[in-house]
């Protein structure tokens, strides 16, 4: 066996990549030959050095920071899908599933668009024409006519005007208000819509629009917006809306109200993903230098013992350990 071949065998032996008979054969070889044994010892020494220089495992702080950045990027990535892409994707799915159904649906959509256009085009123009800014901000949710519609052009494109229409039902004249997402009136209208509207799609666009305002430099935290987000995070039927509300709330300055809301979600939400998001939000507080008070620790203790999710139990236990 030449030297190169021997070195290869020695490395495979040290990497535990030889089978039993090869191992015995190799051990006999080095036992019989002092020169080879000395060469083997030299390779073994290098392997031992490499083993001792093994890098440390990543710590929790790094992992959670990486996770937060990732989830933010993923949300942006998901938001990049344009409406036309969504329609194409939807059509593609429909066509793959059933040709007849797809053809029927497409025909109905086309008919619906035409009927809608002829019936509502002129009245829609009238609503915009009667636009007024005389809206009582403090009583927005109790405004006698209520919010009847919100038009958000594209929540992820900056600069587009959002239109809120109040009233227009039961013979009352509709009032239209247009503004950017940074406009406080629009923000309050969105917050009101978030807890009063039924349409989950509209609510998701609403909360996404609020998220975009929170990231803006000109963002001024509004207690009513925060309160609406907390209500949505705790009570909305749609987990996606609850999740998005939680994400937006993380941008607000931390206070007891937000803490209690996170703890409520962690204790009561049936969706494990939401509970994970809540415990991660609490973990973030620690990363940001906030202390975890007794109320948080009590809930974490309960979750460490009894949550049905392995991840939450482990995460809660690890947070408690870090605090101690």
């Amino acid at each position: 066996m030449n030297k190169e071949k021997f070195l290869e065998k020695a490395q495979l032996y040290l990497m535990d990549e030889l089978n039993q008979s090869e191992k015995i054969e190799f051990e006999n070889l080095i036992m019989e030959n002092d020169e080879l044994r000395s060469e083997f010892d030299s390779v073994k020494q290098v392997f031992e050095s490499l083993t001792t220089s093994r890098p440390e495992e990543v710590d929790e702080k790094l992992l959670f920071s990486a996770r937060n950045n990732l989830m933010r990027s993923i949300r942006n990535e998901a938001a990049k899908e344009t409406p036309s892409e969504k329609i194409l994707k939807w059509l593609k799915n429909i066509f793959v599933v059933n040709y007849k159904l797809s053809f029927g649906s497409l025909t109905l959509v086309v008919i619906g668009v035409f009927v809608g256009y002829f019936l509502f085009y002129s009245s829609s123009n009238q609503q915009i024409a009667t636009g007024s800014k005389s809206v009582d901000l403090d009583n927005l949710s109790q405004y006698e006519t209520g919010i009847s519609n919100i038009r958000i052009p594209n929540p992820f494109l900056k600069g587009g005007d959002i239109e809120v229409i109040f009233g227009g039902t039961g013979g009352t004249s509709p009032i239209s208000y247009k503004g950017t997402a940074d406009d406080p009136i629009i923000q309050r209208a969105l917050a009101t819509a978030l807890i009063t509207q039924e349409n989950p799609g509209l609510k998701l666009r609403t909360v996404n629009t609020l998220a975009s305002t929170v990231e803006s430099d000109q963002f001024i935290p509004d207690p009513k917006v925060k309160s609406a987000l907390i209500t949505a995070m705790k009570n909305d039927k749609n987990p996606a809306v609850r999740r998005e509300a939680l994400n937006v709330l993380q941008k607000f300055s931390f206070d007891k109200e937000i803490r209690d809301a996170y703890l409520y979600v962690l204790s009561n939400d049936s969706n494990s993903g939401l509970r994970v998001a809540a415990i991660n939000a609490l973990a973030n507080l620690k990363v940001q230098g906030n202390s975890l008070d007794d109320k948080i620790i009590n809930v974490l203790n309960k979750k460490a013992e009894s949550d049905e999710s392995d991840f939450i139990r482990l995460r809660a236990a690890s947070l408690i350990k870090e605090v101690k």
Binding site: L7, Q45, S53, R54, A66, L70, A78, V276
Partner: protein, 189 residues
């Protein structure tokens, strides 16, 4: 009851973000460990982690279950690690000048300042730092095979599957890498 990877993938392909997150949380620590041991830098590791999962997010809709999800994920991880170059022009040029040159016989000890060349001082210095420096001079493919074997304890067969090479190629990477490390660390022991 926890869902299998395949069920999570199917749900994620339908747009279920919770399923996607569960997949991420199941494997992300390992991805970050590979990235960190490959780059030996936390910021680089975070960049790689981010890039890996963005690629996975984009590619998941086309995942056809021809391999295990974990194998595919770690394949993406190794590809991102190997192609990761941001801000590393200096190291890259060293790679070209030293790492890829099979005939090069320069030892790491030769590159140390004169006062560090004696055995006593070298042994007293931080061996890990020298190993990391020597490791950074390996070509990326060799370095990746080395990282997966020595720092992540993969078998050669598994490394071959992840890096999409045959086992002979991986063995060659490992022998070459180990021999180079041995040469470069000679003066330090």
């Amino acid at each position: 009851m926890s869902l299998s990877d395949n069920q999570l993938i199917i749900n994620a392909q339908k747009g279920d973000m919770e399923a996607f997150e569960k997949l991420v949380y199941k494997y992300d620590r390992h991805v970050l460990n590979i990235a960190k041991s490959f780059r030996n830098n936390e910021d680089d590791a975070k960049d790689i982690y981010q890039e890996v999962f963005i690629r996975v997010y984009r590619g998941l809709k086309n995942f056809q279950f021809k391999s295990e999800f974990s194998t595919w994920l770690f394949r993406v991880t190794t590809n991102v690690c190997i192609s990761y170059n941001r801000g590393k022009k200096q190291h890259d040029s060293i790679d070209r000048e030293i790492g890829n040159d099979e005939e090069n016989t320069t030892t790491f000890a030769d590159q140390l300042p004169g006062e560090l060349r004696t055995d006593d001082k070298a042994v007293g210095s931080d061996l890990s730092t020298h190993i990391n420096n020597a490791l950074s001079q390996l070509p990326p493919q060799q370095k990746m095979a080395f990282t997966l074997k020595f720092y992540q304890d993969y078998k050669i067969k598994e490394i071959a599957e992840i890096m999409q090479c045959n086992e002979g190629t991986i063995k060659r990477y490992l022998f070459t890498a180990t021999n180079k490390m041995r040469e470069k660390l000679k003066g330090l022991r």
